[in-house]
C-alpha cells in the first residue's frame, strides 16, 4: 500500500508515526494527542454492552426489533441509530478448534475521512482529538456522507432526517472521560487512549497472539499507509476483514478527487467548446 501517493488534499502535517496529523490539518495548531480506539476482538465476549452504553449516553433511539437469523447479531450493521455494532461469526468445526468470532465495529475516525471531506455543510468536523464528529445542529441531511464512507458507517435517520454516527463521545473525551462504550466493555475489548500508545499496545498484543499460536490474528486499520491514512479506531481481527463485514482494502474516495476535478474541468471545457462550436456552421 506504500505505493499510493497521497494527493494534494491529503498533504499536510504528519504525526510521530509518519501518519498525517488530522487535527493539525484541520486548523488546530495546538492540539491534544490524537485519541482513538483499539478494539481487540480476540477478547470480545459479544455482550453488546458497548451498543447499549452508547445508546444510553448518546440517547440514540431503538433501531428495530427484527430477528435477523444472523447468529446472535440482531443489530445487523452500524447505522444512524447504532453506533457500535457487534458482529457474530460462527466458525464451528466438528473436529478441531471451533470459533465464534465476535467483534464490535464502530466508526473508524479515518485520518482521511471521506464522510468529512464530502460534507457540504461542514456538519462533519474534525475535532482537536483528531476524531470525526457530526454536528447535529448543522447537518441538513443531504446524505452525501452516507455514500462516501468506505466502511458503511454513517446513516441517515428516518425520524429526524439527520446523519448520525459515533462521535467518539466528543463531549466526554473533551472532559477527560472515557467514551461510554469503552467504559462499559467488560473485557477491555474496546480500549480508548492516545492513538500512538494504542498502536504500540496493539503490536504487543499481536505478537502475543502470534506467539500463542494464533497466526490468523492481524491488525486492521492500524497502518497509516493504508487507504484511509490509518484509522483512529482500529481493530485486531482473527480473520479476513470481509468476514466481519469490513472492506478488505478501503480507500478514501477523495484520494481520487483531484483527478475527478481535472476530468470534470476537461469535460466542462469540452462541453463549453462543443456548445459554442454548435453555433457555427450555416444557418438554415
Amino acid at each position: 500500500m506504500s505505493t499510493r501517493v497521497a494527493p494534494a488534499f491529503a498533504a499536510g502535517p504528519t504525526d510521530a508515526a509518519g501518519g498525517l496529523d488530522p487535527a493539525a490539518r484541520s486548523g488546530y495548531a495546538d492540539h491534544p494527542p490524537r485519541m482513538g480506539f483499539f478494539t481487540d476482538t480476540s477478547v470480545c465476549i459479544g455482550c453488546k454492552a458497548c451498543e447499549v452504553a452508547c445508546k444510553e449516553w448518546n440517547k440514540v433511539p431503538e433501531d428495530g426489533l427484527e430477528l435477523t437469523g444472523m447468529s446472535y447479531d440482531n443489530t445487523g450493521s452500524l447505522s444512524a441509530s447504532t453506533w457500535r455494532h457487534v458482529a457474530f461469526i460462527e466458525q464451528i468445526v466438528r473436529a478441531g478448534d471451533s470459533r465464534w468470532l465476535m467483534s464490535s465495529d464502530v466508526c473508524k475516525h479515518c485520518t482521511e475521512a471521506a464522510c468529512l471531506d464530502v460534507c457540504p455543510t461542514g456538519a462533519l468536523m474534525r475535532s482537536e482529538f483528531g476524531t470525526v464528529v457530526i454536528q447535529d445542529d448543522v447537518c441538513n441531511g443531504c446524505g452525501y456522507c452516507v455514500s462516501a464512507c468506505p466502511f458503511g458507517v454513517v446513516g441517515r435517520r428516518e425520524t429526524d432526517g439527520g446523519a448520525h454516527k459515533c462521535t467518539l463521545c466528543y463531549d466526554r473525551i473533551g472532559d477527560g472521560l472515557t467514551p461510554a462504550c469503552a467504559k462499559a466493555c467488560p473485557t477491555e475489548s474496546i480500549q480508548f487512549g492516545p492513538l500512538d500508545e494504542l498502536r504500540e499496545r496493539a503490536q504487543g498484543r499481536l505478537r502475543e497472539l502470534h506467539d500463542a499460536g494464533t497466526p490468523q490474528a492481524r491488525l486492521y486499520g492500524e497502518d497509516p499507509a493504508d487507504g484511509v491514512g490509518g484509522a483512529g479506531a482500529f481493530f485486531l481481527l482473527l480473520d479476513e476483514p470481509e468476514v466481519y463485514g469490513l472492506p478488505p482494502d478501503p480507500v478514501v474516495t477523495t484520494r481520487d478527487l483531484p483527478r475527478m476535478w481535472r476530468h470534470v474541468a476537461t469535460a466542462a471545457a469540452a462541453l463549453a467548446a462543443a456548445a459554442l462550436l454548435s453555433g457555427l456552421g450555416q444557418r438554415s
Partner: protein, 325 residues
Amino acid sequence: MVPPAEFTSYYGRPVIKEVVWGVPDVPGYLFLGGLAGASSLLAASAELTGRHELARTAKTAAVGAISLSALALVQDLGRPARFINMLRVFKPTSPMSIGSWLLTAYGPAAGVAAASALTGRVPRIGRAATAAAAMVGPGVASYTAALLADTAVPAWHDAHRELPYLFVSSAATAAGGLGLALVRPEHAGPARNLAVAGASAELVARNLLIRRVRRAGTVEAYQSGRAGHLMAAAEVLGVSGLSIAATLGRNRVAAALAGTALVASSALTRFGVFYAGRISARDPKYTVVPQRDRLRRQDQAESPADAGLPAAGLVGQHGLLQCLG
C-alpha cells in the same frame, strides 16, 4: 476482470451503506442540472449567432430545469429547512459544496437571463446574465459526475474518469435534444449540432465507462437489473435519436421525435448510472471482490518471488490508474 464466484461477506450484508438519495429526486436532479447547464451554453451560443428563438427557449429550459432540480435537491434533504447550510462552508473536497455554490451563482443568472429574454426588458443585464450562466453552466452540467464519483459506491467511483464525459455529453444531448424538439428546425441548428455531438460523445463515453468498470469489477452493476435496462434503453434511444437527428434533423416531425428521444435518452442515462450505483452499494461483492483482487495483486507485486513478473499486467488496475489518471 471477472469477479470470482466465491467471496466472503458478513451474511451477504452490504459493506457500504445503501445510497439514501431518492428516486426520482436525485437522478432527476442530475439530469435537470445537466439540461440546465448545457442549455445555458446553447443559449449563449444561439444568442451569439443570432438565433433568438433558440436562445429564448434554451434560457427558459435552463431556468425551468434548474428550478426543478433545486426543488428536487431540497426535497431530497433529510432536513430541507436547512438547505441554506450548504453555504456555511466552501469545500473543494465536496462536490456537493462546490455544486451548491455553482447553483447559487448559476440560478440567479439563468433566471435573469430567461426573464430578460422572455420579457425583453433589461437586455444588457440579460446579456450579461446569459454570459454568466453560460460560464457557470458547464460546471453545473459536469460537477454532478464528481458528486457521484466522489463516494465509496463502487460503480460510481470506479467510473470517476469517464463519468464527467458521460455526464456532459448527456447534458449536451439533453439540451440539444430539447432545442431540437421545441424550436423550429430552421432556428435549431446549434441545438441539432449539440445534440448530435452530445449523443455521439455519449456513446463513446458510455463505452469507455463500461470498459473501465469491466476492468474494475463493477460492470455487472451497470448491466444487470434496472440499471441494465435503463442503460440499454438510453443507448437505443440515443442511437435512434442521433441517427434521426443527423439524417432527418431538418424535418419538423423527425426533429421533434429525435429531440424527445435524445432528452429521454439523457434522462435514462442518469437514471441508469444512478441505479448502477445503488446496485453496487447493496451487494457486498462489488466492494469486497475488487478490493480483494487489488490486495492480491499488491501482494504478488510485493512478494519477491513474483518480483520478476511484468508489473503492468499484474498491477492491473492500479497500474492503469497511474497511466490513465
